[in-house]
């Protein structure tokens, strides 16, 4: 199946005064219809910037974004409208994602209006999408304002707004991190049901491997703006290859207080890592660092079935 969205060598450089920050470097990925890709990494690893570039909320400074085969990397705002209707975003904080002065009805009608859907169809489409996110009967919700709803209900409205223009791609940036644990599964299941029934491509951005494992077939691990490992989620978690992925997996909380577990296999923190320069960005924290890591940055290479790893340790290893 052909990719709905594809990134080729995507990069974003921010300039603040004299300093230059490479927020994202050389990110290549693709997602097909009906598939869910997870992007994991710690704060500041560039996962949100990547997502914003894929949605063209940010203009990339390097590489290309292809949506259904069309290059949208540098398309002007006015010409992006057809793309906007087909690529939607689910926000992290539902309390801030809805215009506080718009009723739910108006929030949902806004995309329909902007994408030129005839007004006669609005009511039916709004009813249908409210059913899809299980806010029924719709009439009980549509005339309310956002502050009258709970976080879980708001996130359903946010999801409804993303689904109403009939997108092919949904990007969910930490879709449940602001919600109570008790309503998280409900939202994730709705997202998954929408994806399955409508055949959407989905990208989940999260720092939470447990969530990614629950919803994504394929996962990309990012560290300091680069992809360090990619593979089917189950395999990636069962047998992580990159030292950073191993650390991430080891850091996932396990619901047993008295468990025996080894200390984290990495040391230091993000600020110890070199920005730019040559060599592997992870070398200062890596337990396996060797002289070569200082001299040369590892490329992202094929490492077995559908897996890619950026680590010198992988070279020459049997794939």
């Amino acid at each position: 199946m052909s990719a709905v969205i594809e990134a080729r060598g995507l990069g974003k450089t921010f300039r603040t005064g004299r300093r230059t920050v490479h927020a994202v470097q050389d990110v290549s990925l693709s997602v097909s219809a009906g598939e869910a890709l997870g992007i994991v990494g710690e704060s500041g690893c560039g996962k949100t910037t990547t997502a914003r570039m894929l949605l063209r909320l940010e203009e990339p400074t390097a590489g290309q974004v292809l949506f259904e085969g069309e290059d949208i990397t540098h398309r002007r705002a006015a010409a992006l409208l057809p793309f906007r209707a087909r690529a939607q975003l689910v926000f992290q904080n539902p309390f801030d994602a809805l215009n506080p002065r718009f009723t739910i009805r108006r929030t949902l009608a806004e995309p329909l209006r902007n994408f030129g859907i005839p007004e006669a169809e609005h009511a039916a489409r709004i009813d249908a999408v409210m059913g899809r996110v299980r806010l029924t009967p719709a009439s009980a919700w549509l005339d309310r304002f956002p502050h009258e709803l709970s976080g879980g209900q708001l996130q359903r409205v946010v999801l409804a707004r993303a689904l109403i223009p009939g997108p092919r791609l949904i990007v969910a940036d930490e879709p449940v991190s602001m919600l109570d644990v008790s309503v998280r599964a409900g939202i994730l299941n709705l997202l998954r049901a929408a994806r399955d029934e409508l055949g959407l491509a989905a990208i989940y951005i999260s720092h939470d491997l447990a969530l990614i494992r629950y919803v994504c077939e394929r996962t990309v691990v990012m560290y300091l703006g680069r992809i360090v490992e990619e593979g089917p989620t189950a395999e990636l978690i069962a047998a992580p290859r990159h030292p950073y992925t191993r650390a991430l997996v080891a850091a996932v909380p396990v619901p047993r207080v008295d468990q025996d577990r080894a200390a984290l296999p990495i040391r230091g923190s993000l600020s110890d890592s070199p920005l730019g320069g040559t060599g592997c960005a992870f070398r200062d924290r890596c337990p396996h660092a060797m002289p070569r890591c200082e001299a040369e940055a590892p490329a992202l290479r094929e490492a077995g079935q559908a897996r890619r790893v950026a680590c010198h340790l992988e070279e020459g290893a049997p794939s």
Partner: protein, 286 residues
């Protein structure tokens, strides 16, 4: 009809807005029927026998007494509502329109637009009000138009600054990004999504501008750059001041126009304060 009933329901629930609207309604009605309500011609010099009726105290005949030149204070006060409304509202509308537009453009678009508007606002703010008005009046026809133009030209930066800072914080909100993702143009984001949220602030600054305009008109009249043929609260105050009404204890002369100006500014403030619930529904729960 439906809108009128909704407005009535809103006013009944909001004492602040109700009082403000009541004061405005009173002033508007007075202005409309000024010629029927006023017991005398406000410019007529009244006489008692052959003598000019100066400094008459409050009496059943002259509810608010008379001025130093024998004119009926109540009639002047009533006629004054017309020029006050005219000057105050026109100036306020122009100030709010320019200030809000400038603040919105500067705050939302940023970049060189922001720089240009902010610089312009700094320049305008550094201009002294009275000299500017005097020069403008000397170069053109003195009258209320000059007063309104001065207030509008010199007061918009105050509104623009506040609106700009508000817009700066609003545009970072996720729902603004959501508007972009759901296909809104910049124009639509500015005028449909952000503008309604800054309108109460704009209205507040508008109500301040009403007071400023009335005060400005008074100063201009005092210095001889107003329209000599109008009767206004400002002219009344200045006449009272020039005739040392305070020293003579003629409080029935200078207190009414002063109170009138205060109540008009206050009414504007109360309306914008009371409408906050309508404009920021989130506050309603608190």
């Amino acid at each position: 009809m439906r809108a009128a009933r909704a407005a009535w329901r809103f006013l009944r629930g909001e004492p602040f807005a109700f009082v403000g609207a009541a004061i405005y309604a009173l002033i508007v009605v007075t202005a409309i029927f000024a010629d029927k309500l006023a017991p005398h011609d406000p410019r007529e010099i009244l006489r008692v026998g052959r003598r000019v009726a100066r400094y008459l105290p409050i009496s059943p005949e002259h509810w608010l007494g008379t001025t130093s030149s024998g004119r009926d204070v109540l009639s002047q006060l009533i006629w004054g509502t017309r020029s006050a409304l005219q000057v105050g509202l026109t100036a306020a509308i122009v100030v709010v329109a320019i200030g809000t537009l400038m603040g919105l453009l500067a705050g939302y678009l940023g970049g060189w637009v922001d720089k240009l508007i902010t610089r312009l606002a700094d320049i305008v703010l550094s201009m002294p009000f009275l000299p500017f008005m005097l020069v403008l009046a000397a170069l053109t026809q003195p009258g209320t138009t000059v007063v309104v133009a001065c207030v509008a030209l010199l007061l918009w930066p105050n509104t623009a600054r506040v609106i700009r800072s508000q817009v700066l914080s609003l545009r970072e909100r996720a729902w603004v990004e959501a508007a972009r993702v759901t296909g809104c143009s910049n124009t639509r984001i500015m005028f449909v999504h952000i503008l309604p949220q800054v309108l109460p602030l704009a209205a507040l600054y508008g109500s301040v501008a009403i007071g400023w305009a009335i005060l400005a008109e008074a100063s201009a009249s005092f210095l001889g750059f107003g329209d000599p043929n109008t009767v206004s609260w400002g002219v009344m105050l200045q006449e009272a001041y020039a005739n040392q009404a305070l020293g003579r204890g003629a409080w029935n002369w200078f207190t009414p126009p002063g109170l009138a100006i205060v109540s008009m500014v206050l009414a504007g403030f109360m309306i914008s304060r009371g409408s906050e619930k309508l404009l920021f529904p989130k506050l309603a729960d608190k």
